[in-house]
């Protein structure tokens, strides 16, 4: 189908604002193909069904809208965690702030350093899972990223790793428009934890492609927060082998525009994929979780747990789909999305979907939206807990179910304390 004229010109306007880097080496063909995909699909506009609840305008327009820097001296999330730090400032690798990129059990390279090589294993992954993820639903902003991102980390996990790899995204320029493209390949039986945190840029487009081999484990904990005016579109594309595990959790606090897409393909039998999120937003906060899980193997488990706390007119969106292919018998699919609306101005828009072609499956989904429990609030107050603290306790309790999805206790504790801090700042 031909792209509508208005969409085409918006797409060309965006492309004109970007600088193409051929890269020279193995990456050239991938970038070229991605650019063609972008032109074929056109960048999203508000008429697209998949963007019904989230306006893509600011993510697509040629210049990044300005985002004021958020100054704070508070400690940052994961500060207390022993980890290997890799720092990007406004989307550019910051060698001085980063640790030495070596750690037993894995190999880390920069996309910028390897793009010019003639051959590299990354060629089999770069843009490959992204391309797969374009059907049945198009994700043109991910293709745009594949075409233009010049930096990111390329991680090959070959064994057991002693500490998490932590990607830290600093935001120092009010007008930065950043793209990063990360690749993670986890070999059979290997295991890694990736952390991400920071506001990244005024506008951030990030793609992470994750290939998880048989019996391998990939854990991911991310905290997006701080700068209120920042905007982000992120995609995770992952493919899971036999008996492999993918677990991803995202905390989002603040942000005028965040859309996190997660595209999961269970291609090996007995694989497990969990994706969860806790989002807290105030005022013109807009947060969108869009998840697409394809079950294409036997006896796999997928689980989606999303919780949002919205106040003062904030908006939360959840689009979650479980697609069970004909041969994916014994699929266990679970999906829950819930919002706690702290006032009547805030809204939660949810579109849960199941599409099942196998007959022996157990899939369930639920979506709720509600206010604070008045009975519980009174009970707490009658015991002397002031209203604001009681509200915080109930809010944290509501979010706890999502935080529980984080396997590592220390990381879960970090996330909980961030949530508490946010509540204290916004309620206290």
């Amino acid at each position: 189908m031909a792209v509508a004229q208005t969409k085409q010109s918006a797409t060309e306007a965006r492309l004109a604002s970007l600088v193409a880097h051929e890269g020279g080496g193995w990456i050239s063909s991938g970038r070229q193909a991605a650019l063609e995909r972008v032109r074929m699909m056109g960048l999203p506009d508000r008429r697209d069904e998949y963007w019904k609840y989230t306006r893509p305008d600011t993510l697509v327009q040629a210049e990044a809208p300005k985002a004021a820097l958020f100054e704070t001296t508070d400690p940052r999330v994961f500060d207390g965690i022993d980890r290997l730090k890799i720092v990007f400032t406004d989307g550019v690798f910051d060698a001085d702030a980063s640790d030495d990129l070596s750690l037993e059990g894995l190999n880390i390279e920069r996309l910028a350093d390897i793009a010019g090589k003639d051959i590299h294993w990354a060629k089999d992954l770069y843009g490959v899972l992204e391309t797969n993820g374009q059907t049945p639903v198009e994700r043109p902003l991910a293709a745009l990223n594949t075409a233009f991102a010049t930096d990111g980390v390329v991680i090959h996990v070959t064994g057991q790793v002693s500490k998490p790899v932590s990607l830290i995204y600093n935001h120092r320029s009010e007008v930065s428009d950043a793209m990063l493209h990360h690749l993670v390949k986890v070999d059979a039986g290997a295991k890694v934890t990736i952390l991400e945190n920071g506001p990244a840029a005024a506008r951030f487009n990030k793609v992470m492609e994750v290939e998880i081999a048989d019996g391998a484990e990939f854990h991911h904990v991310r905290a997006q927060g701080r700068d209120h005016e920042r905007r982000a579109i992120t995609h995770i594309f992952t493919r899971l082998g036999v008996e492999s595990v993918f677990k991803s959790f995202t905390l989002t606090a603040n942000g005028m525009m965040t859309r996190n897409e997660c595209v999961i393909e269970l291609t090996g039998d007995d694989a497990v994929a969990h994706v969860a999120g806790a989002a807290v937003g105030d005022g013109d906060f807009h947060h969108d979780d869009t998840v697409f899980i394809t079950h294409d193997a036997v006896n796999c488990e997928s689980r989606q747990v999303f919780k949002k706390v919205l106040r003062n007119g904030a908006t939360g969106v959840f689009q979650g789909k479980i697609l069970v292919k004909p041969d994916a018998q014994k699929t266990d699919g679970y999906q829950i999305s819930q919002s706690l609306l702290l006032d009547e101005d805030s809204q939660f828009l949810a579109k849960p979907e199941l599409e099942i072609y196998a007959d022996d499956v157990a899939c369930s989904h639920g979506s709720t939206s509600g206010a604070i429990d008045e009975e519980a609030l009174f009970y707490l107050r009658a015991r002397g807990v002031p209203k604001n603290i009681a509200t915080d306790l109930l809010t944290l309790a509501f979010l706890a179910e999502a935080v529980l999805e984080i396997e590592d206790e220390a990381l879960a504790e970090e996330i909980s304390s961030r949530l508490e801090g946010w509540l204290v700042r916004h309620n206290g």
């Binding site: 429990d373 008045e374 009975e375 519980a376 009174f378 009970y379 707490l380 107050r381 009658a382 015991r383 002397g384 807990v385 002031p386 209203k387 603290i389 009681a390 306790l393 109930l394 944290l396 309790a397 509501f398 706890a400 179910e401």
Partner: protein, 251 residues
Amino acid sequence: MLEIKDLKVKLEDEDKQILKGVNLTVEAGKVHAIMGPNGSGKSTLSYVLSGRDGYEVTDGSATLEGEDLLDMDPEERAALGMFLAFQYPVEIPGVGNMTFLRTAVNAQRKARGEDEMSASDFLKEIRAKAKTLKIDADMLKRPVNVGFSGGEKKRNEILQMAMLEPKMCILDETDSGLDVDAMKLVAEGVNALRSEGRGFLVITHYQRLLDHIKPDVVHIMANGRIVKTGGPELALEVENNGYADILAEVA
């Protein structure tokens, strides 16, 4: 201690008068009991005194040690020493019992300008008090009242009372749904708290509880009013003859 004068209360959203002029004074050190048929307004009285939304006081007053309760937020009343053991304790998923109680104890202390209780002192005290109420460590860790049996919920109310050490304790049908052993535990918990400076208002249907918690004064409430007041023998009369005789007598 607690002084209620000509208290008239209607529902906020409905034109329904529930309390029609309640007069009641509970002196420090005394235990008063309120008995009465279902729907007579006993729970409403306890809710209005503790500050629950949904009611409108149309007339009268209620004071605790001379301070006007009715204008205060529930948490202010609690800090002043008001405590209600709920007829139906609320389940709060996701909030640990221990966290809840510690937050409550320290919030009250803070409101009164006292020092917070240290984590270790709190732990020591709650363990000791939980033990006498046969509340095990697991129940303390679980979310507030979630998955508790009826009896466990009521014992948990008494534990909260013991930790908060209020001046004025209102118990709303704390005996309902309890077997004999559980009732004894609850009664012992209450009796352990009886003291010179503390008043009790025990709402119950049954004489049974009053065998264990000996009241000084018994009131009969019907149709939004205290219709009769007497000594412990009044509870026995209800036990033997029901409310019909008393209600006929005052009609």
